[in-house]
Symmetry: C2
Subunit: 382 residues, 2 copies
């Protein structure tokens, strides 16, 4: 024991046990976790190599394949939030000099640009105004022009509420030997996704949106084509924590220690996925669609308009136009502090122009809509 | 809605709600979280930019400074397990070609070597047999020889149970303009640490050992000297998720969105730190020391020997020599399956030679020792 130095108590706080306001989280995420998920997280931990825990990891893998509709053996949860899973897709497949073509029509497209550059990619972009999506023709032309090693598209752009159609994109990519990388952070569990059918090679998501879990353990999947690129790399993956060759040995048959999994979060993720399977994927998607249509109608009855064209609106996240003369930030603050309802503000091109309203996972219920609309009526004086 | 493709139910499992065996985790970690920590995690989530959550982040920062005994403003929790926090120290400060000197006397020294290489470091090592530590003279000679930009040492080598003394190392480092990077994964909360007094510039830890939390949110701190090196970089940090310039704007006054924090884990970390502050850091360290001494004595009474010289043994993790003729793996399996007690096996040089027994955080109690020793007696037929 070092006993010659005395302890400095400056930063020692005398705190009470945690008490937090009970918010209804209707922003871009996190969403309120299902109560059964939180309950599952409050379970005594296992070691990360305990046979009982390894069995749970297998269950998570299987259920992730189900919700993504993929047969990819390498389908796992990354031990970090969705951003870590996003980074994992690029870190493993980008080699310095690779052309990476990115569709940018919102904040998360830009994030992919920044990340890919850090892994040495020769980044090319196609862009659209925030809230719009790329047509198949536009994608085809860009593939022809850039012949990229990777095409990255955001299926559900959390910053705009737009859904990028992905049908036939995978086929086009195969013509150019291009890997298709897709952000499904705000779609998994809430929006129809058919990864294999669409020919998606790399995808990532998060736990705290459509899946109704707590944030911190994030779905990741890669196809055999993507795995082949990884295995043929000439240099090590420039990220140890997210190296899928190492992680594959922990999630695979070898069960080689890589890192200490966030045990209790995996409990929660397993419960969240179990609930989706119990409800059934089609029912889960339909519930999200039905509730969001109820939201749109309800908002329209109080005179509010949606930013995205109906055909491309996400069932999970809606961008609502802030009416002229209304201080959007002040409204959001009042909703939060007076009504305990969180909605999000706009980012980038949409800053000050929209609120972002999420109906995701457990929160995709008519009661969420009713409570929000009642509060909005009061705050807006409608 | 895409309705033309039918849903594949192959990977949909019909599972029951989670039930796991109730283990006493006396391995190298995770350790059982304090019940109050699990309870705190079972609290309704807040948004990651909610004023109530930002206040909680401030509390975590302050309490982390307390447990590490540092004034570093940039003291935060990384949204990943200890390995992510480890990688964060190197990712932010290593620039290609930097000489990084690493003390390797166990598994985690080797991990630092692998990671530093991935960030382009010119890696040099000093080595010791697993279970031993470096003397100040050895460190001084190596600094003189390599004049590294960074010296990385493992304070508490989880693979060997040895405690690396750090007094005066920081002073030596300052002579060579070297940053001192220290792994405190298995020491924080359980072993005396005085980061500022020792001149440590970069440190990382985990939540699930001495702090008695669940894994997934990991302490990270950097000094003004380390921050200066980061700010003077010529290239972006080659890791977006762990970029401290970006993370600093989320944890700092700007509160700029970076990623969705693992909200419920932060609740748990705040509760774990609150409990350490309530107990008092000195008492917490003393408890760990007292209980481990009781462990050593109890194990000796049944004829077992410790691998590390007493002076350098960690209070948190003990390597126990497997007696000749005993199948260490079979014993560990029996302890797990028949007695619900987890102990760890040896890694690397110590594979098959030791068990690793942790008494950390909430599990550092005389009852843990009694239960383990009684079970060991039965399994070993003593």
């Amino acid at each position: 024991m070092t006993s010659t130095i005395s302890i400095n108590d400056n930063h020692s706080l005398k705190l009470s046990p945690l008490e937090v306001p009970n918010r209804l989280l209707l922003g871009p995420g996190p969403s309120n976790a299902h109560p059964a998920v939180l309950q599952a997280m409050n379970t005594t931990p296992l070691g990360h190599l305990d046979p009982a825990f390894l069995a749970l990891m297998d269950e998570i893998q299987s259920l992730l394949r189900y919700v993504w509709q993929t047969e990819n053996p390498h389908t796992i949860a990354v031990s970090g939030t969705g951003t870590a899973a996003m980074e994992a897709t690029l870190a493993n497949t980008v080699e310095p000099g690779d052309v990476v073509l990115i569709g940018v029509a919102g904040y998360f497209g830009n994030r992919l640009v920044d990340m890919a550059g850090r892994y040495g990619a020769d980044v090319r972009t196609i862009t659209k105004p925030w809230g719009q999506v790329f047509s198949l023709d536009e994608i085809s032309t860009a593939l022809e022009t850039h012949k990229p090693a990777i095409l990255a598209l955001v299926h559900a752009e959390t910053s705009t509420g737009a859904r990028q159609p992905l049908e036939e994109v995978g086929e086009l990519c195969r013509k150019y030997g291009t890997l298709l990388l897709v952000d499904t952070v705000t779609s998994l569990g809430g929006v129809p996704i058919f990864l294999d059918e669409w020919g998606v090679d790399l995808a990532y998501s998060c736990s705290q949106k459509g899946l109704g879990c707590s944030p911190g353990a994030s779905p990741f999947t890669m196809s055999a084509r993507a795995m082949e690129k990884l295995q043929k790399r000439e240099t090590k993956v420039a990220n140890w924590y997210l190296d899928m060759l190492l992680l594959g040995k922990y999630w695979g048959v070898e069960r080689t220690y890589h890192h200490t999994a966030p045990i209790n979060l995996y409990y929660g993720l397993r419960e969240a996925l179990r609930l989706v399977a119990e409800e059934g994927l089609a029912s889960c998607w339909q519930r999200h669609q039905k509730n969001v249509e109820y939201l749109w109608e309800s908002l329209e009855t109080i005179g509010l308009k949606m930013h995205v064209e109906k055909e491309f609106r996400l069932p999970t996240l809606t961008t609502v136009c802030i009416p002229e003369g209304v201080d959007g930030k002040a409204v959001a603050k009042q909703l939060l502090l007076d009504h305990n309802i969180e909605v999000g503000g706009g980012l980038g091109e949409l800053a000050g122009k929209v609120w972002r309203v999420g109906l995701m996972g457990f929160n995709s219920r008519p009661e969420s809509v009713d409570r929000l609309v009642a509060a909005l009526k009061e705050v807006l004086g409608k």
